[in-house]
Each structure stands twice: as C-alpha cells, then as structure tokens.
C-alpha cells in the first residue's frame, strides 16, 4: 500500500523521509492522478492559504473529499490540520477542506518569535514526545466524534476523528517516528519497526 504526502507546498520531503525510514512506500502527491494511487495521505506543514488555493484549482480538493468519505486515512500537521478543519475561527473566510469537525485558530500562539518546542505527553504513542510548534494553530472547538489525543495548556493539539488525524505540531522535523507509525497503523500498512 502506498502512502502519499501532499506536495503542493511546505515541508513534504521531511514527511516523505519519515515514512521511508519506516520502510513505507511513499510518494509525493501533486495531481489528482497521484492522489488516486495512494491509500493514505499526509498533508504537511506550510502555508495553509497557499496549499488550499493550489488544492482547489488543481481539483485535488474535490478528489480528497471523495476519498475521505470512502474512508481513506488522512493526517494533517499544522497547515494540514488547518485545512482539515471545518472552520478557521480568526479567518472565517479562508478556504479549508472542511473534512473534520474541529474549529481552529491560526497562529494561536503568536508570531514566529513565540514559536516553541515542548515535551508533550501523548498516551496513544506511549508517552512523552518532543513537539515542535511553529506559528502553530490551536483547536478551539471539537465535535462529539473527535477524540483528543494530546493537549497543551488546556487546548487540544492532537486529535482523531475516525480516519482523520490532525496535530498542531511537526513530528516530521524531529527524529522520533512514533506519530508517523501511529498513522501507518491507521492505514494498516505492514512495515518494519525502527525502534
């Protein structure tokens, strides 16, 4: 089974490398045809306005809607999480895919000088994880079907809703592959563990 990383803009290569380290078969998705080949998709960090615009004009957004309804697992990090959200609280007119029952706030921790790293307890992956927050979004509302997997300062920062996974932080920038492993388990891929 093939995993895709949406490669319209952002740090998609870091996600690709993480998947490759876990021996998963992975490709960069830039077109609708690419998207049709994959069984799971990661939407990377980057600028949500840029990625959203390109996904819309290339038809990738429409195809993604179809696939998610059919049950394809998708994991969004930072900009990816913003794009999965049904609404962006502080930019209500900004386009998003609207696939997840969460409302997010963009740049919720401030501008770049406020970006930070912190050890975050995440039970589903076995405990403490070095989480890197860069001009990060915060989840301000969750629907009933949304399970909170991690919180920081009382706000959810890592959540799951059935086949959809979303986080404010960037596991692809570190060497700890447990969040990617968790996503691969969601996709049901056979892979060789690394740790």
């Amino acid at each position: 089974m093939m995993i895709g990383v949406l490669g319209l803009q952002g740090d998609f290569r870091e996600h690709l490398w993480a998947l490759q380290k876990l021996n998963a078969e992975a490709i960069v998705v830039k077109t609708v045809e690419d998207l049709k080949r994959v069984s799971g998709l990661i939407i990377p960090g980057g600028e949500s306005t840029t990625i959203g615009r390109l996904a819309r004009i290339t038809g990738i957004a429409d195809e993604l809607h179809k696939r998610v309804i059919q049950g394809m697992p998708v994991y969004g990090t930072c900009a990816g999480m913003i794009l999965l959200a049904k609404r962006i609280a502080n930019y209500p007119n900004q386009y998003s895919f609207g696939l997840m029952d969460i409302v997010v706030e963009r740049n919720a921790y401030g501008r770049q000088v406020e970006s930070f790293e912190v050890d975050l307890p995440i039970q589903v992956i076995g405990g403490k994880f070095k989480a890197i927050f860069i001009r990060a979004p915060k989840i301000v509302e969750c629907g009933d079907k949304v399970e909170i997997l991690a919180e920081y300062n009382g706000s959810p920062v890592f959540v799951q809703q059935d086949n959809l996974l979303a986080g404010s932080f960037h596991p692809e920038l570190g060497n700890d592959l447990r969040v990617h492993e968790y996503f691969l388990r969601m996709v049901g891929v056979k892979y060789a563990g690394v740790h």
Partner: protein, 291 residues
Amino acid sequence: MEKGTWTVKTGFADMFKGGVIMDVTTAEQAKIAEEAGAVAVMALERVPADIRKAGGVARMASIAKIKEIMQAVSIPVMAKVRIGHIAEARILEALGVDFIDESEVLTPADDRFHINKHEFKVPFVCGARDLGEALRRIAEGAAMIRTKGEAGTGNVVEAVKHMRRVMDDIRKVTTMLDDELVAYAKEIGAPVELVREVKRLGRLPVVNFAAGGVATPADAALMMILGADGVFVGSGIFKSKDPSKMARAIVMAVTYWNDPEMLLKVSEDIGEPMPGLEVEELEVRMQERGW
C-alpha cells in the same frame, strides 16, 4: 518549553519550501501576494529596482510601513536590515516580524562583520554566492540561505551562477575524502564542522532559496530545476504589467517546475514582465556586499 531554538528557526524555514516569497511595499500589494498564494511577504519601502534607481543610502523600512503590512495579511512577514546593523535587527525583533533578511540590497552598516544571529529569537535569512559564504552565514546563525543573484535587474543570470556554484561546491564536498575537508574548509573560509555536515547531508544544513533577478514563471522554474528549495521574487511581480497574474503564475511554476505542460499553461497570458537590466552595465553590484 523553549522558544527561539535552532530547530524552531530552521523548521520555520522548512515551511516555506516549494513556495514563493514576494516583495511588497503596501498593504494592498501584500493582500494581492497572499491571494496569489505567496508563502510570505517581504515588507519594503521600495522594491530593489527602485532602490537601484534612487541611489543614496538604503535603510530598514519605516516601522509604520512594516506594521501596515503585518496587519494586512495572515501569512508570515519578513523585513530587511542592513548588513551588520544589530540595532535595526533588535527593533524588527521587538516589532515581531517573522523573519529578518540581513540583506545586501540595503547599504551595509558594517564593512567587516555580519550580525551574530544566534543571539536572536527571530530567525534570519542571508544571501550567498558560493558554499563558503553560505556556511559563514550559517555559522553566524542564519537559519535560511538564498542566492544573492543581482537584485532589481530582472536578469536571472547571477542567481543561476550563484545557485550553480553552491550546488557544485556541495557536490565536490560529498565526493571528498575526510582527509581533504580541513584544507577545503580553509580554502572556502568556512568552519570545518559545517563542511563535514554538508558532506554527511549532501546538501546545506538549512533551506536554500533562489533570489535576485527572477522575473517570469520560467525563471522561477529554472531555479527549482537547479536545486532551489523555493524562490524570492523582488521587483519581478509588482514591476510587471499585471502583478496578480504574474504572482499566481510564478506560484504555480514553483510547485510544478518539473511539469512542462503545466509550465506552458501558466506562462501563457501573464502580460509583460518587468524590464530587465544588463549586469555588465550596472553602477552598483549589490552582490559584492557581504564578507
């Protein structure tokens, strides 16, 4: 919880990859850039082509100008400081700009030293023409590198020269024996630890963008073909006939740089690009600023 770490700085630069950073001089231009899909804007008093025309001393943009642009858009805002101007950089950090460009486009404030960028929480980008210059800037704390090219000319030849030289130097390092690295580091004026890291990674340890003369979608795609992680477009957008169209086309070209059909499609109907200048005829070569 830790702010302003090296990971947070270089990680932020990673988020720009595959994107276009556009020079803007008003809130209205910033909005056009954001709507076209820019990943960040560079807030300026004047674009480089006009700095070149105006002559005199070019300094950091006015605070009012940068604030106006920061309030206008949701995407990151960068601003330039003069080479070595620690106080301009402190002011921009206090203002909360997301990235500082210690730039040869402005008149240098120090003719020997660059800013010690490690001392700041805000990340810096710096220009380079070869691997030695890039690694000196990284040693000083730059979290992102761009080619210098020759800003404000609409002539891509210098950006190409600098990107090719950096890539060529990297290829050379990757094939060198470990025995040769110390002498090579001395030759290019770079710390040997960083030369070793380049050999290990097969690339620069930070993101490397193209800048300085990109004027068309084809120019932007060319820089991506040569190995750039993304592109800065200075005068090329708002000195063209139809900035919004040009901006959208360049954004597409940077994503689909390896898809000729798409490049053809986005290169049609972009209007007239900015007028270009011959590099040999320039009175000021901005690329020579930096030590």
